[in-house]
Amino acid sequence: MTEQLTLFEKIWRAHTVTARDDGQTLLWIDRHLCHEGSFHAFEKLAMSGRKVRRPDLTFSIADHYVPTRNREVGPDEPEIATMIRLLDEHSRTNGIRQFGLGDPEQGIVHVVGPELGLTQPGIMLVCGDSHTSTHGAFGALAFGIGASEVSHVLATQTLWQKRPRTMRITVDGQLGPHVTAKDLILSVIARIGADGAAGHVIEYAGEAIRGLSMEARMTVCNMSIEAGGRAGMIAPDDTTISWLKGRRYMPKGDDWEAAVAFWRGLKTDEGAVFDREVRLHADEIAPTVTWGTSPEHALPVTAAVPDPSGEANEGRRTTFEKAVDYMGLTPGAPLDGLRVDRVFIGSCTNARIEDLRAAAAILKDRSTKVPTMIVPGSTMVKRQAEQEGLDRIFTGAGAEWLESGCSMCAATNGDMVPPGERCASTTNRNFRGRQGPGSRTHLMSPAMAAAAAVTGTITDVRKLAEG
């Protein structure tokens, strides 16, 4: 009988250069993506006098620090100018292809990689950024690494890793109207906890997952890290293959045929065993928002702010108290109707074309009550949105339509939520101070964020969309 393997195991084996007795494995890396934050790694490499082994397999993209109001870095931002210049210099001196500020294919690294077809099924892809898990939506094994590991990859095109455990999350049934991939993944994180998948690679399966578009699958895999997962992946299928066809770095001609034939075999064998299985039904999932300071603090929008005093466990009670206090909330108050000060639609989680379409569907013929920033995930997404006229819907509703980058997601480029302000955000982290010191973030889907922009409060999008 042939061995039954998970998708993860198939990719792991194909990339094993050598393995030690203790299980540490030297893995071949097919694609390596860099951004401005990679400067530590390049400096480390230069200090050791080593060279980039395969510059043709590394690509660098400016995203974390790029300004979004225009494409010029102001004279008052010398450090940001340095970050962008360093990426440019390190890319040029090492012979690495760069998509820098002003490039028509620039954007957030996890949006651009797939768009260009750098991300492919079955590959091992790494980047010095935790949301590298996004690329697993294509059936790649993709994970974030630290600066020391980035310099290891640059020098050797490999990485030492201990074999992670595997977890399958199966979502049966179909998502209800206006319930999105974001609601699905927030519900999963609330269920298993922000460290629920620590040490594991997640494979998402089941009817609800199969029914998702590539954009939606990327949203799910993106937030695997918010459940502590090492990576998240979804087996490639027709949706994957037709999405990838014709993209810039996709194989062509006979190579394309060979690649597709190979990709068809990339799935978990019937009977293969996972270290852990989690199962939920799509019916259980409602439009979801976070109330606290960890993505695990997520609840259906129809719920109320939890009352910490009702928590029996002392640690949990303290955590809840601190979160409620930081977020400026009243225990027991309904989430629906909570006033917000601003809205941010952007990030590698939810700023792809479909996300913008979903926001536009809500904003059409309506106007925003609070400052609303819309930052497309890439310059190509921006162009497409403009071709579809979405930009006119956004600006017509009074929202700001900006240039692509990470922007207010992590406030690295200076776009910040002012202290004490509450922001409805399509990003992935509601950590304290993530969007600027003292910022209060509520995570939600693009449609929910658009609904919050229209009403100035957290709002169940189903009410707006249906009535």
Partner: protein
């Protein structure tokens, strides 16, 4: 990187869960060169009041914990971003060991690359260490990497911990893993050649 052997040092107790890397080093400091020293960014926002003054109730600000080299926290320490700066901040502030009930995976591996030992212990053991450090901030904790044990000053019990043998080796010898990899140069070149032939479409053209 200095080799890690046995560490006997005092502890700063941090009774917090989900201390993410944004708390360890806020994103706006990621652009700073390492040569500046990262110790000032450690818990930058968490340890300050809104007006910028230092919070007296934050353990790292308290005089009795100033010489601590071991930080002990609750579950999911270092979750979130891959920023190695979070570890630079700890290392530059003099921490050689972090103990928690669980860790973010990327943070854990970043620790080891910078000579900081990540030790996972059950929450019961952590409670005992917190209590010890709160009762007597000068009581040392002994962390022995070779035997993979943690010993409290006032407690006869020792707590064992798991660590990946490879990580242990790198930490104990203060080794750079690139050197280790280059010892496999021939195997790597052979792999690279045959892999390139098996998957010709993976060499980018475009």
């Amino acid at each position: 990187m200095d080799p890690f052997g046995t560490l006997a040092a005092t502890v700063v107790p941090l009774r917090l869960a989900n201390v993410d890397t944004d708390q360890l080093q806020p994103g706006r400091f990621l652009r700073k060169p390492r040569s500046d020293g990262y110790d000032n960014y450690l818990f930058h926002d968490l340890r300050r009041n809104e007006d910028g003054s230092m919070r007296e109730d934050f353990p790292l600000n308290q005089p009795q914990y100033q010489s601590a080299e071991i930080l002990v926290a609750d579950r999911n320490f270092g979750g979130g971003s891959s920023r190695e700066g979070a570890v630079y901040a700890l290392a530059d502030a003099g921490f050689r060991c972090v103990i928690a009930a669980s860790f973010g995976d990327i943070f854990r591996s970043n620790c080891a690359k910078n000579g900081v030992l990540p030790v996972e212990l059950p929450i019961e053991a952590i409670e005992r260490i917190w209590e010890m450090a709160e009762a007597d901030p000068s009581a040392p904790l002994t962390v022995d990497l070779a035997t993979q044990t943690v010993r409290l000053a006032n407690d006869p019990e020792t707590f064992g911990f798991e660590i990946d043998p490879f990580v242990k080796e790198c930490l104990m010898e203060g080794k750079d893993d690139i050197d280790l990899t280059l010892a496999h140069s021939e195997t790597l070149s052979t792999f690279e050649r045959s892999y390139g032939q098996d998957f010709p479409w993976l060499t980018p053209t475009g």
